[in-house]
C-alpha cells in the first residue's frame, strides 16, 4: 500500500555553510524515532568520512521519517539533505526539484550570509514554500530578533513565526516538525497516470547496478515493471524499489509524491542520467519532467598518478566518481614532466578538492595535481576561436589575436569593519566595484565583478584572513571578458616544465613568476650542477632563482668494514631517485612537485 499523498511532506534544508543543516536533520530523525539516540552517529547524513571531517555536505542524502502530528495523523516526511557550498549550487537545485518546500536555517549568531541568500533565491526560483528557522539559540550571542529582521528585510520572507531552535540542544524541534506539516504543501500528482520519476541522484552498486534516487511525480512503480527513460531507448526490468530510512529499505511500490530509489540491473550510468525522467516502457508519459540545467565545469586541473604505473587505476577511480557526479569532466592528458594523466573539470575549488581527496582515500591512490586553471577563449589571428583549459595548449603568442577570460559576479557579505580590506583585496584581484548595500547595522553586501582565475588562486584564503573569517562569498559566472593574458612558463636549467605553466594576467605575471621560482628553489634538491630556475613570459625571463650545485656528496670513509654499509646507503639513495621526475636534466622528487603545485587556497 502506498502512502496517501496528503500525508506526505517532501522538503529539503538549505542554509549557509555551518549554520546547522546536518545537525537539524539529525535531530529531526531522532525526534521521529528514525534512529535511536544510542545508534546515532554524529551527523548521520554526512556519511562520507570527508563530509564529517570537514563539516560539509557534498552529496544529496534522502531520508524518510514518520511523524505523528498534533492533529493525530501520522505523516511521512522525505528530507533531502543538500550541500551548502557555492560550488554545489547545482546539486542543491537537484534536490529542490524533488521537494515542495524548503527549511531555511539561519544562524542566530551570524544572521543572513551569502549562501543563505543564494540558496533562498534558488528555492524561490523553484517555487518552493520556504519555512525559515532560526538556529543556535543555545549560544549566548544569539540574536533572534535581528536575525528575524534580516530574513524579512534581506530575503523578503515572513519570519515572525519562524521557530527559534537549537538543533544542537534539541530546543523547539517540535515546532519545526509541526511547521513542516502546516507550511509545506503535500505533493500533487496522479498515481494512476503513466510513470514520471525524476532521477535526482544515482550511484553504482556492485551487486544491484545503478541505483536511481527518484522523486515520483506521477504513477506507480513496483518490482517487475518494465521501465525506460526519455533520454535513452533502453528498457529495464525493475528489480527493487524502496525508501531511505536512512539506509535503503525495499518497499512493494513507490507512487506519486514519494521519494525513494529504483534498481533495475542497469549496468551503465549513461542510461539513467541525473535529471532524466523514468517512465513505463509500455505506457510512456507524454513528456518528461523539466530536467536540470547541465552543470558546467569552471575549474580545471591536471590529475596525474604519483606512480606512473597506476594510470589505469586512476582512470577507474575517476570513472567511478563520475558515475554520480555529472559535473566532473575527464579528458586524457599527457605531460612531459608528469607522464600520462587526466585533465579534469570541476564546478569549483571545493569540488576539485573533494574529488582529489576522494581519489586518495576511497581508491588509495597518490596523485599529483597541477595548479587549477579556468577555461579561456582564444581568438586566433586566422579568425578561428579556441577554448583552452590547459595552459600547455595555448598557441604561440604570434597566433593569438586576443583572449577572453571568465568573469564572475561576486557577492560578499561582511560586517562593515572589513569593507576596507575586502575592497583592497578585490582591487588587487582585478575586481571591478559594482555596488555596496548596507543591509543593516552589522551587515554589508559588496558586489564586484572579478576574473574567475583570480578567485581560484588564493582568494578565499585572503578573504578569510582579512576578515577574521567573518566574510562570506557567493558567486555566479557572468560571462567572458577580453583580457590581457599571458602564459607564464617555468624553466628548469633551460627546459620548460609544462606541468608548471599557468595563464595569468600580464600585470600579475612577474609576481607569480617570482613566487613560484622561490618555492621551486626551496623544494628542488641540490644536484651535481647549478640549476637556474627561470620564470618566462614569451621569450622573456622575468624572474630567476638558482639552486646551487652540491659541494659534498660522498662517504668520507670507505674501508674494509664500510663497503656493505656504503652499498646500502647508495641503494637507498637509488630507491629515492626512482621516485624522481625528470625535467630535462633536472631531477625533482614527486613530493616536491606536490609542494609546488599546492594551491594556497583553503577552499572552503
Amino acid at each position: 500500500m502506498s502512502t496517501d499523498k496528503n500525508k506526505i511532506r517532501n522538503f529539503c534544508i538549505v542554509a549557509h555553510i555551518d549554520h546547522g543543516k546536518s545537525t537539524l536533520a539529525d535531530r529531526l530523525m531522532e525526534m521521529t524515532g528514525q534512529v535511536s539516540e544510542r545508534d546515532m552517529e554524529e551527523q548521520l547524513l554526512d556519511s562520507m568520512d570527508l563530509e564529517r571531517e570537514r563539516g560539509i555536505t557534498i552529496k544529496l542524502t534522502p531520508v524518510r521519517m514518520f511523524y505523528k502530528a498534533k492533529d493525530g495523523i501520522e505523516y511521512t516526511f522525505n528530507l533531502i539533505d543538500t550541500p551548502g557550498h557555492v560550488d554545489f549550487t547545482y546539486e542543491v537545485s537537484r534536490s529542490l526539484k524533488a521537494c515542495e518546500g524548503a527549511i531555511l536555517i539561519v544562524d542566530a549568531t551570524q544572521g543572513v550570509q551569502a549562501q543563505t541568500m543564494a540558496n533562498a533565491y534558488l528555492a524561490i526560483d523553484n517555487d518552493l514554500e520556504i519555512m525559515p528557522v532560526i538556529n543556535k539559540m543555545d549560544l549566548a550571542s544569539a540574536n533572534p530578533e535581528a536575525t528575524q529582521e534580516e530574513i524579512e528585510n534581506i530575503l523578503g520572507i515572513e519570519a515572525s513565526n519562524a521557530p527559534r531552535i537549537s538543533a544542537k540542544s534539541g530546543l523547539n524541534i517540535q515546532d519545526v516538525l509541526e511547521g513542516i506539516v502546516k507550511n509545506i504543501p503535500a505533493p500533487s500528482g496522479d498515481e494512476n497516470a503513466p510513470l514520471k520519476a525524476l532521477i535526482f541522484d544515482s550511484y553504482y552498486d556492485n551487486f544491484k547496478g545503478v541505483i536511481c534516487f527518484v522523486r515520483i511525480k506521477d504513477g506507480t512503480v513496483k518490482v517487475g515493471d518494465r521501465i525506460t527513460t526519455f533520454m535513452s531507448s533502453k528498457e529495464f526490468t525493475v528489480t527493487e524499489v524502496g525508501v531511505f530510512s536512512p539506509k535503503m529499505q525495499p518497499t512493494p511500490t513507490l507512487s506519486a509524491g514519494e521519494v525513494g530509489y529504483i534498481a533495475a540491473s542497469i549496468k551503465s550510468i549513461e542510461d539513467t542520467a541525473v535529471g532524466d525522467t523514468i517512465t513505463n516502457a509500455d505506457r510512456k508519459a507524454s513528456e518528461p519532467l523539466p530536467g536540470y540545467k547541465k552543470a558546467l565545469p569552471m575549474v580545471f586541473s591536471g590529475v596525474f598518478p604519483l606512480d606512473g604505473s597506476k594510470f589505469n587505476d586512476l582512470q577507474d577511480a575517476l570513472l567511478k566518481l563520475k558515475l554520480n557526479d555529472a559535473a566532473l569532466s575527464i579528458e586524457p592528458d599527457n605531460s612531459a614532466a608528469l607522464g600520462f594523466g587526466f585533465r579534469c573539470g570541476f564546478l569549483g575549488l571545493l569540488h576539485m578538492d573533494v574529488i582529489q581527496e576522494r581519489i586518495e582515500r576511497e581508491f588509495d591512490l597518490d596523485i599529483i595535481t597541477t595548479a587549477p586553471s579556468v577555461s579561456y577563449n582564444v581568438y586566433k589571428t586566422d579568425g578561428t576561436k579556441l577554448v583552452v583549459e590547459n595552459p600547455t595548449h595555448l598557441p604561440p603568442v604570434t597566433e593569438i589575436d586576443y583572449m577572453e577570460e571568465p568573469i564572475i559576479n561576486a557577492s560578499i557579505f561582511t560586517p562593515p569593519d572589513y569593507v576596507g580590506p575586502i575592497m583592497e583585496l578585490c582591487q588587487f584581484k582585478r575586481g571591478v566595484y559594482k555596488d555596496m548595500i548596507y543591509l543593516d547595522k552589522t551587515r554589508v553586501q559588496l558586489k564586484y565583478t572579478l576574473p574567475l582565475n583570480e578567485i581560484i588562486y588564493d582568494f578565499f584564503d585572503q578573504l578569510k584572513s582579512r576578515t577574521k573569517g567573518y566574510a562570506s562569498l557567493d558567486y555566479e559566472i557572468a560571462g567572458y571578458e577580453r583580457s590581457d593574458l599571458v602564459k607564464l612558463d617555468m624553466l628548469l636549467n633551460g627546459d620548460i616544465c609544462d606541468a608548471l605553466s599557468i595563464i595569468v594576467h600580464k600585470d600579475k605575471a612577474y609576481e607569480r613568476g617570482r613566487q613560484i621560482a622561490e618555492r621551486l628553489k626551496d623544494v628542488i634538491p641540490r644536484q651535481m650542477f647549478e640549476i637556474p630556475i627561470q620564470a618566462a613570459v614569451g621569450g622573456k625571463i622575468i624572474a630567476r632563482e638558482t639552486v646551487k650545485a652540491y659541494r659534498k656528496d660522498v662517504l668520507a670513509k670507505c674501508y674494509g668494514g664500510d663497503v656493505t654499509r656504503k652499498k646500502k646507503l647508495l641503494e637507498k639513495q637509488k630507491e629515492g631517485k626512482k621516485k624522481m621526475r625528470s625535467i630535462g636534466s633536472v631531477e625533482i622528487p614527486s613530493e616536491a612537485f606536490i609542494e609546488i603545485l599546492k594551491t594556497d587556497s583553503d577552499n572552503n
Binding site: Y550, K552, V554, T564
Partner: protein
C-alpha cells in the same frame, strides 16, 4: 694483494664522534681478549694457507694503549700462521697520548714499519671538545720518538667553528712531525655519538662550509707535495697506504678481532661488536660472525666500480675484464655516456675528474643496477 686487519677495541676514553667498537670500560679484559685474538689469528691462518698477505693493519680503538708485548705477540702469531710477502707493510694506529720509547722499540722490533697517528687537529681546545686525551704538543713528542719512520696523521674537518686557516695550521703541524701521509676526513656525525647532538643543533659546519675547507686544504696539501689518491687520503709519492689501496681495489682481506670485517673468496663477513660475545665464541670454538654475504654478479661489479672511483686511479678496465670477463666500456656504455661530463679516461683507466670527486655519490649511483634490471 691481500691484507690482514687486527682490531684492538680498547681506549682510555671515548671521543665524542667515535662509533667504532672501542670500550674504555672493558680495559680489564685486555689480557683475555688478546688470548682470544691469538686463537682467532691461528684458526684463520690454518684455513688461509694458500694465500699470500702483503699488509697488516692494527687498528682500533687505540692499539697503542696495549702493552707492547701484546702487539709484538700479534705480529709473531701472524708471521707464524700466515704467508707474508717480502717487505710487508705493517701499520699500527697510535694515539699521541699513549706512546713511549719502550713501545716504539717493541713495535719496530716486531716489524711494524708504518705509524698512523690520530692528530685530528692542532688546536688543544678543539681536541678537548672532541674528548681527545692528548694535546698538539703530544703529537710532536710522538713523532720525535718515531723520527725517520713512515708516519701518517689523521686530520678532521667540519669541526665546530673550524676555519680553513686552522686546518692549514694542523697540516703544518703534521708536516713538522715529518709525516709522509695525511688522512683528512670530514667529520661524519653518527647517530648515538655525543657529537650527533651538536650536529642536530647546527653547531657543526655545514656541508658547504666543510667542502670549502676541503677544497682549500686539498690545494694546500698539493702545494706541500701531498697528492690526493683517494677521497680522504693524501700522500707524498710512494707513501700511499698499501693496506687501504687493497680495499679500494677490492682485494681480499681477513679481519680479526671484535667487529672486524673480512672479504675472502667472494664472501663479506663481520664479527660481532660485543666483546664478550666475541670472546665466548672463540673460547667455545664457535664462529663470531654476525653477518655474512656472498657477493656475485652485478653486485660484485658495482663494488669494484664504487671502490675504484674513490681513487685517483679510477677503474682499470684491464683489471675489470680480468675480474669479470666483460668489457667495462661496452657493458656500461649508457652510464658512461650519461655521466660523461664528470669522468675522464686516461689510458686503461676511467676516473672521476678531480673537481667532482667530492660529489661522487650521484655518479656512482648511475652504475648501480636496479634489481631485476637486464643489461639493455
Amino acid at each position: 694483494m691481500a691484507g690482514i686487519y687486527i682490531h684492538i677495541p680498547f681506549c682510555k676514553s671515548k671521543c665524542t664522534y667515535c662509533d667504532f667498537a672501542s670500550f674504555p670500560k672493558e680495559i680489564g679484559k685486555m689480557e683475555s681478549y688478546f688470548a682470544c685474538l691469538y686463537r682467532e689469528i691461528e684458526g684463520w691462518g690454518k684455513k688461509l694457507t694458500n694465500k699470500v698477505f702483503d699488509t697488516v693493519y692494527i687498528g682500533g680503538g687505540t692499539p697503542s694503549i696495549a702493552p707492547p708485548n701484546y702487539i709484538s705477540g700479534v705480529i709473531k702469531q701472524i708471521k707464524k700462521y700466515y704467508t707474508l710477502s717480502d717487505n710487508p707493510e705493517i701499520t699500527i694506529e697510535i694515539n699521541p697520548g699513549t706512546l713511549n720509547k719502550e713501545k716504539v722499540d717493541a713495535y719496530k722490533k716486531a716489524g711494524i714499519n708504518r705509524f698512523s697517528i690520530g692528530l685530528q687537529t692542532g688546536y688543544d681546545e678543539q681536541l678537548k671538545r672532541l674528548n681527545r686525551i692528548h694535546t698538539a704538543k703530544d703529537f710532536l713528542l710522538c713523532t720525535n720518538m718515531l723520527k725517520g719512520e713512515n708516519i701518517s696523521a689523521d686530520i678532521l674537518i667540519g669541526l665546530h667553528e673550524q676555519t680553513l686557516e686552522q686546518v692549514k695550521k694542523s697540516i703544518d703541524l703534521a708536516i713538522a712531525g715529518g709525516v709522509s701521509h695525511i688522512s683528512m676526513y670530514a667529520l661524519t656525525p653518527e647517530v648515538g655519538t655525543p657529537i650527533y647532538t651538536d650536529y642536530l643543533n647546527g653547531e657543526l659546519l655545514s656541508d658547504d662550509e666543510t667542502a670549502d675547507i676541503y677544497d682549500g686544504a686539498r690545494e694546500y696539501l698539493k702545494e706541500k707535495g701531498f697528492d690526493r689518491y683517494e677521497v680522504s687520503n693524501f700522500a707524498k709519492q710512494g707513501y700511499e697506504s698499501k693496506h687501504n689501496l687493497n680495499y679500494w681495489k677490492r682485494g681480499e682481506y681477513i679481519g680479526l678481532g671484535v667487529s672486524a670485517s673480512s672479504f675472502i673468496d667472494n664472501r663479506r663477513f663481520t664479527n660481532t661488536s660485543v666483546i664478550d660475545e666475541y670472546m665466548n665464541a672463540i673460547i667455545f670454538n664457535k664462529v663470531p660472525e654476525v653477518s655474512s654475504e656472498t657477493v656475485e654478479g652485478t653486485d660484485a661489479e658495482f663494488e669494484f666500480i664504487m671502490l675504484a672511483l674513490r681513487t685517483k686511479y679510477g677503474i682499470d678496465t684491464e683489471v675489470f675484464k680480468k675480474n669479470f670477463n666483460k668489457d667495462f666500456e661496452t657493458e656500461y656504455k649508457k652510464q658512461l655516456d650519461k655521466k660523461e661530463k664528470y669522468l675522464e679516461k686516461i689510458g686503461n683507466s676511467i676516473k672521476i675528474k678531480d673537481e667532482y670527486l667530492y660529489v661522487q655519490n650521484d655518479i656512482i649511483l648511475e652504475f648501480m643496477k636496479n634489481t631485476g634490471d637486464t643489461n639493455e
